[in-house]
C-alpha cells in the first residue's frame, strides 16, 4: 500500500474511502441515536409523541376549515400526519447536518476521516425516527378506519428519496458554509420555520389562492414529496411529470451541495 499526501485539488468524492470507513459511520449514527434519548424518562416514545401532539393541534384548529376545502378521501388527521412525518425527516435532518461540523469540531481537528460521514449521519438519525413513527401512522390508519392503497409501496420510497436527496444537498451546502460563517446557526432554524409555511404540510396546495405563487411553490421538493405520498395513500394518480421540476431541483441541490462540500472539506480543520 502506498499513498500520497499532497495539496488537495480534485473534486471527485472518494467513495471507496467512505466505504472503508463504514464502521465509523455506523458508530457515529449509533452514538447519535443512543445519545438522543439518554436520560429521558420517555425515551423513544418522544419520537411518536411529538408528531402526535402536533397532529392533534392542527386537527383542532384547522380540521374543519381544511375539510370543507378538500375533496380528498384521506381523513385530515392522516393527511397532516403523513406530511408531518416527512417534514420532520427534512427539518431535523437539515438542522443536524448543518450543525454537524460545528458540533464535531473537536474531533475534526484531531483525527482524519472522510468528513462526509458527519452530515450524512445527521440525516440518518431522523430517518430512523421516521420508521418508528410509521407505527404511529399505521395505528392512526386503523383508528380512522382507513386502508392505504397499494400505490403506497412505490410512492413512499419515491417521496423518501426526494426528501433525503434534498436534505443531503442543502445539508452539505450549509454544513460547509457554516464552518466559515457561523451565521447559519441562526439562519437555519429561521429558514426551517419559514419553509414550514411554504410547504403543504398542514394544508393542501390547492388552497393557495395565487396562481403565480402556486407555480413557484411547486418547485419545493419537500412539498412534491408530501403530495406524492398523499397520492400514494389515496390511490390518486402520482403526477411525476408535474413534480419533475421539483425533483430536478433537489438533484441540482445535491450536486451543488456535494461539490461545494468537497471543494472546502480539506480546510475544515483549519477553520472549525
Amino acid at each position: 500500500m502506498e499513498y500520497h499526501i499532497k495539496p488537495q485539488k480534485k473534486l471527485a468524492f472518494n467513495f471507496k474511502e467512505v466505504w472503508d470507513y463504514r464502521e465509523l459511520f455506523f458508530f457515529f449514527t449509533w452514538r447519535d441515536i443512543k445519545i438522543k434519548y439518554k436520560q429521558t424518562a420517555l425515551g423513544v416514545v418522544w419520537v411518536v409523541l411529538q408528531p402526535l401532539i402536533f397532529m392533534s393541534i392542527f386537527v383542532a384548529f384547522f380540521g374543519n376549515f381544511v375539510k370543507t376545502h378538500t375533496s380528498s378521501s384521506l381523513p385530515y388527521p392522516l393527511f397532516v400526519l403523513g406530511g408531518l412525518l416527512l417534514w420532520n425527516v427534512f427539518s431535523n435532518g437539515l438542522s443536524n447536518a448543518s450543525n454537524s461540523m460545528i458540533t464535531n469540531a473537536n474531533i475534526i481537528k484531531k483525527i482524519y476521516f472522510p468528513r462526509l460521514i458527519l452530515p450524512v449521519t445527521g440525516i440518518i438519525v431522523p430517518f430512523f425516527d421516521f420508521f418508528i413513527s410509521l407505527l404511529l401512522f399505521a395505528s392512526a390508519c386503523i383508528y380512522f378506519d382507513f386502508i392505504p392503497s397499494w400505490h403506497l409501496f412505490y410512492a413512499l420510497p419515491i417521496a423518501l428519496s426526494i426528501v433525503l436527496i434534498t436534505t443531503l444537498g442543502l445539508g452539505l451546502l450549509i454544513s460547509s458554509l457554516s464552518v466559515k460563517f457561523r451565521d447559519f446557526k441562526y439562519i437555519v432554524p429561521f429558514l426551517i420555520q419559514i419553509l414550514l409555511f411554504l410547504t403543504p404540510v398542514i394544508y393542501p396546495s390547492k388552497l393557495i389562492p395565487f396562481g403565480w405563487l402556486n407555480k413557484l411553490l411547486e418547485l419545493n421538493p419537500i412539498g412534491a414529496a408530501i403530495e406524492i405520498l398523499r397520492a400514494g395513500l389515496t390511490a390518486d394518480s402520482i403526477q411525476l411529470i408535474h413534480h419533475s421540476p421539483a425533483i430536478l431541483l433537489s438533484i441540482a441541490l445535491l450536486f451543488i451541495g456535494g461539490s461545494y462540500f468537497k471543494s472546502t472539506e480539506h480546510y475544515f480543520a483549519d477553520l472549525a
Partner: protein
C-alpha cells in the same frame, strides 16, 4: 528497502487576518459604505517551511522544538487532518494518529460504549476492538465502572481509559502528540513501558512530539529538531536532544532568587596544574572557584555548588553545611574554592547551580549559572557513550563474591 515515510519539502502557510478595527458599527457603514467591503490586511505565516526527512521501518523518531516551531502542524499534515500548502508525503503503511487522548469520548455514553466509539474514531475495526477489549479494560483498570456513563468518571479514570484504547492501536506508523503525561505516576510508568515495548519489541514505526526529553531519550532512536518551521537538526536522539537542551539553557538567562546580599559573580574552573579550563574528563581532579561579593558582614554562611543534568534533575550537591563548614564573611569580594580530587560525573552536559545562605536564611540561589561539558579521557579504555543519562559514578564500594 524503501523508506516507510518520505516527507519531501512540505510547507504549510496560514493567512493571518489582521482586523483593522475591533468591530464595524452600522453607523460606520452608513457614513462610509466602502468600509464594509474593505479587505482586512492579511499576512502569510509559514508554519512549516520546506521540511524533508525520511523514516525507515521500525524507527522511533522524536520531534522536538520550541512552542510554535511547527511540530503539531507537521503531525496534523502527516495524519491528513489538514493538507500541506506544497510538497508531498509518500507513505507505505497505515498511519494512525493520536493527537489527543480520548478524541470523541462522549460523557453520556458508558465506558464500554466509549471504548468502541473512540477505537473506531482512531481507526480500529470493530473486530479488532472486540479482540482486544479485555486487554484494554485490564490496562485501564476501570472494569468496575465499565457500564457507568463517562461523565461520572474522575478525570484520571477518563484519561486512563482513553490511553488504554490508544495503546492497543496497531498501525504500521503511529503518530503521537504530547500525550504521554497522563494520569498518576504509576499509570505514566505503565504508559511509557507500553510505548517502550511498542518501539523496541514490536518494531513499530513511531513519531512522537514531546517536551519530556528523558522520555524521548528512552523511546527514540532518532530525533528531529524543528525551529521556525525548518528542520534544524536530524540525527540520533541523544545528540539532538542534548543540543536542544543546551540551546534552551543558553537561551535561558540565569534564574536568580534571593536578595543577593552575597552574590556569585563568576565561576572559574581550574585543572590540577592551575590552568583555567572550560571542560574536563570524568575522574579528573578539578577546582571550581566562585568569585563572590558580599555587601555586608555575615556570619554562619554556607555555600553550595550543585550539578543539574539536562533533564533539570539534581545529580550532586557540594554543600559546606553537610561537611559542617560555616564561614564568617566580611563585606567585600572573596573567593570560594571547591576542590574535587576525582570528579565522578558521567560524560555529558551539566548545569551549575549556586546557593548561599547565612544562619539558614537564603541569600542567593542561581539556576543555570553555567553549562559544563564532561567527557571521557581519550584512550583510557572506556567506551564513550555521551549523554545517555547524566549521573554519577560511585567508586567507593566493595564487591565480594560469596559461594
Amino acid at each position: 528497502m524503501k523508506p516507510l515515510l518520505e516527507i519531501k519539502e512540505i510547507s504549510k502557510s496560514y493567512k493571518l487576518l489582521h482586523e483593522q478595527q475591533s468591530y464595524l458599527s452600522l453607523r460606520d457603514i452608513l457614513s462610509k459604505p466602502s468600509q464594509f467591503f474593505k479587505k482586512n490586511s492579511t499576512e502569510v505565516f509559514n508554519a512549516l517551511d520546506s521540511v524533508s526527512f525520511e523514516v525507515m521501518q521500525g524507527e522511533s523518531i522524536g520531534i522536538i522544538g520550541k512552542n510554535g516551531a511547527g511540530k503539531s502542524t507537521l503531525l496534523k499534515i502527516l495524519s491528513k487532518i489538514t493538507p500541506p500548502t506544497s510538497g508531498t508525503i509518500t507513505s507505505r503503511g497505515r498511519i494512525a494518529s493520536l493527537l489527543e487522548v480520548g478524541t470523541g469520548f462522549h460523557p453520556e455514553l458508558s465506558g464500554r460504549e466509549n471504548i468502541f466509539l473512540n477505537g473506531s474514531i482512531l481507526g480500529m475495526k470493530r473486530k479488532e476492538i472486540l479482540a482486544k477489549f479485555d486487554e484494554i479494560v485490564d490496562f485501564s483498570s476501570v472494569e468496575k465502572f465499565l457500564d457507568t456513563p463517562l461523565k461520572h468518571y474522575s478525570s484520571g479514570m477518563q484519561l486512563r481509559l482513553a490511553f488504554a484504547v490508544a495503546a492497543f492501536l496497531e498501525p504500521e506508523i503511529l503518530i503521537i502528540d504530547e500525550v504521554l503525561a497522563v494520569g498518576d505516576a504509576e499509570f505514566q510508568r505503565k504508559c511509557i513501558n507500553k510505548m517502550d515495548s511498542i518501539t523496541h519489541h514490536e518494531g513499530r514505526t513511531i513519531l512522537i512530539v514531546s517536551h519530556n526529553m528523558s522520555v524521548l531519550k528512552k523511546l527514540c532512536s532518532r530525533a528531529i529538531m524543528l525551529q521556525k518551521g525548518k528542520v534544524l537538526m536530524n540525527a540520533d536522539a541523544n545528540t539532538v536532544i542534548d543540543t536542544y537542551l543546551k540551546q534552551s539553557i543558553e537561551d535561558n538567562p540565569r534564574i536568580k532568587k534571593g536578595n543577593s546580599k552575597i552574590t556569585v559573580n563568576d565561576i572559574e574552573i581550574f585543572d590540577q596544574s592551575h590552568n583555567r579550563i572550560t571542560s574536563f574528563h570524568t575522574f579528573d581532579s578539578v577546582n571550581f572557584v566562585l568569585n563572590c561579593t558580599a555587601s555586608q558582614d555575615f556570619d554562619k554562611v554556607s555555600i553550595a555548588l550543585c550539578f543539574n543534568n539536562m533533564d533539570e534533575v539534581r545529580i550532586s550537591s557540594l554543600w559546606s553545611k553537610l561537611t559542617n563548614q560555616l564561614f564568617d564573611i566580611k563585606a567585600g569580594p572573596f573567593k570560594v574554592h571547591f576542590n574535587i580530587p576525582c570528579i565522578q560525573l558521567i560524560p555529558g552536559e551539566y548545569n551549575l547551580v549556586t546557593y548561599i545562605d547565612s544562619n539558614g536564611y537564603e541569600l542567593e540561589q542561581v539556576e543555570n549559572f553555567k553549562l559544563i561539558t564532561v567527557s571521557f579521557k581519550p584512550g583510557n579504555g572506556y567506551i564513550t557513550e555521551p549523554g545517555k543519562s547524566q549521573a554519577l559514578y560511585l567508586e567507593n564500594f566493595n564487591m565480594k563474591i560469596i559461594d
